[in-house]
């Protein structure tokens, strides 16, 4: 299992959400983060170096089975892309175990819904 953490533009959230659901991701969590970077040339606006400490982004966190990693990355990459500076990043983090609280399932089984059909 891996955790995919994607930091994306707020305005791209709906697109990414749709892309993920289409890519058969069952569930993901997200929350607001802020980004800070070095002031770079391209970031000067009207003569004022723009204080980057206030860039709002959404962090999407999805835990997926190994076989779905690339599919998920692709979905996010495509949907979050604008081509302008600030499109964000995707990180892949190892997960050692996962537990579904309701059923007690562990490992991969906790991620997909065996009972999906009922």
């Amino acid at each position: 299992m891996k955790k995919i953490e994607a930091i994306i533009r707020k305005t791209k959230f709906e697109d990414v959400k749709d892309a993920l659901l289409e890519a058969d991701i069952e569930w993901f969590s997200y929350y607001d983060v802020r980004g800070v970077g070095k002031a770079r040339q391209g970031r000067i606006y009207r003569g004022v170096v723009y204080d980057t400490s206030y860039i709002e982004r959404i962090l999407i966190s999805i835990v997926v089975r190994d076989k779905n990693v690339e599919k998920t990355i692709d979905a996010v990459k495509k949907a979050a892309y604008t081509g302008e500076i600030g499109d964000g990043r995707i990180f892949v983090i190892p997960i050692e175990d996962a537990i579904r609280i309701r059923t007690g399932d562990r490992g991969d089984a906790s991620l997909y819904n065996a009972e999906q059909e009922n």
Binding site: R9, K10, T11, E14, Y45, R46, V48, Y50, D51, Y54, I55, E56, E84, G86
Partner: protein, 442 residues
């Protein structure tokens, strides 16, 4: 307000502005409370208190609009929208005092003369001229502030200031002159007691044109052209804003009687108070009911709009209709508003984040017409025939055309010359940081 007679006693081009530059001499011409004995004899203190109270309440609508607009838009543009709601009032006060008041209430067929800070040309009747000026100022600011909501989240702040100046100084006072200023429409008998057309639909139509020319916010319409919800960031303050507007409307409408003394006036203001409240409540009830039937759930944000729709609708005829008539106007406006919001959003694909064009434009128009239907004295349903309704239609259409036309010219020119809209990146990151260097929440 309809009932004011404005015989212009004389105009002097008082060089207020030069006065500012040559303060010593100019100030010597001022005099505090300089009224001749004949003028003051007819002043009613109770009327003055009533009008000042009403002016306070209409001023109080500014935070109402500010909160509704802020609540219905996103966090990243909150400082910007608040700033706009301050700035239009700041500018409005100065410009209406400087030129608007003269254009609106001076003598003239199409418009009066700019007064350049002097109020001497105006003959006060039951209240001091300065009370009348402040009351008219807060009305003017209301018209201007309506526009900011529809154009929220993507307009350059400098452009906002520019068009606010034009609206406050020219567009509003001119159509105001036609009606409350004693101009041609008022002579025809056009009835717009407190401004469904003159204030609200003027603001609403300009808002609609502005939003159309600006184009929708990034992300508002999907690739398939489907409209998407961009929910407001804080419905609590939006709701508070509506309550504030509600209180303000008790000044807006009953205050437009401009008098309280004598039992006739006492009865009139009580009546207007009652009809205003009833229409608002039925506007809200209509919106709840329709949204429940249409979407399966009663929506708070539509209820807020419905209440405002009821208010806007009854503003023209609040003195002329019965409570039952007011209820009907509220019901109709609250219902139509929901379909109008949907139509503008999904069919016209104009992105109006707060629904200003539906609430103020459409319902202001409608309310003006409905006055011709429900007016106890002259309305269609009371056997008055189509005469009054016709004049109401004429007024609503000409003033609407004036507002929309002016708006079209202003926005097209500004867009060509300088560009109305911020660059995509600024829209994305929020106007607060790029335009004001601050964010509202930290």
């Amino acid at each position: 307000m309809d009932r004011i007679i404005r015989y212009i006693m004389g105009k002097r081009l008082w060089l207020g502005f030069t006065g500012l530059l040559f303060a010593g001499s100019a100030f010597a011409q001022d005099s505090v409370a300089a009224k001749s004995a004949t003028e003051t004899s007819s002043i009613s203190s109770l009327d003055t208190v009533w009008v000042l109270l009403a002016a306070m309440l209409v001023f109080w609508m500014q935070p109402g609009f500010a909160l509704v607009e802020a609540g219905f838009t996103r966090t990243k543009n909150t400082a910007n929208i608040l700033m706009k709601n301050f700035v239009d009032f700041l500018i409005g006060t100065v410009l209406f005092w400087f030129v608007g008041f003269g254009i609106m209430f001076g003598a003239g067929d199409f418009m009066g003369m700019p007064n350049l800070f002097s109020t001497d040309f105006y003959a006060s009747s039951n209240i001091p001229t300065e009370a009348f000026l402040i009351f008219q100022t807060v009305f003017c600011a209301t018209a201007a502030t309506i526009v900011s909501g529809a154009m929220a989240e993507r307009t350059k702040f400098s452009m906002y200031i520019t068009y606010s100046i034009i609206i406050t100084a020219i567009v509003y006072p001119i159509s105001g002159h036609w009606t409350w200023g004693g101009g041609w429409l008022s002579q025809l008998g056009f009835h717009d007691f407190a401004g469904s057309t003159i204030v609200h639909s003027v603001g609403g139509w300009i808002a609609l044109i502005g939003a159309a020319i600006l184009g929708p916010r990034v992300g508002k319409y999907g690739k398939d052209g489907k409209s998407r919800a961009i929910p407001g960031h804080n419905l609590t303050i939006a709701a508070l804003g509506v309550f504030i507007l509600w209180l303000g409307w008790f000044g807006f409408n009953p205050g437009s009687q401009l008098a309280a003394e004598g039992s006739e006036n006492a009865i009139a203001i009580s009546h207007v108070f009652l009809t205003t409240n009833i229409a608002a409540c039925l506007g809200g009830i209509a919106a709840i009911t329709v949204s429940w039937l249409k979407y399966g759930k009663p929506s708070l944000s539509l209820t807020l709009n419905g209440i405002l729709a009821g208010f806007v609708g009854v503003t023209a005829g609040c003195d002329a209709v019965s409570p039952v008539g007011a209820a009907m106007i509220g019901l109709i406006c609250g219902t139509v508003m929901i379909f109008s919001v949907e139509f503008i959003d999904k069919v016209l694909k104009i992105d109006d984040p707060v629904g200003a064009s539906s609430v103020h434009g459409v319902c202001g128009f409608l309310g003006t017409l409905l006055t011709g239907v429900f007016a106890v004295d002259g309305g269609l349903l009371y056997g008055g025939g189509f005469h009054m309704l016709g004049i109401q239609l004429l007024g609503a259409v000409t003033v609407g055309a004036w507002a929309a036309g002016s708006g079209f010219v202003i926005f097209t020119v500004l867009n060509k010359v300088h560009g109305l809209r911020v660059p995509a990146r600024i829209e994305e990151e929020g106007l607060d940081i790029y335009e004001h260097g601050e964010s509202a929440y930290n």
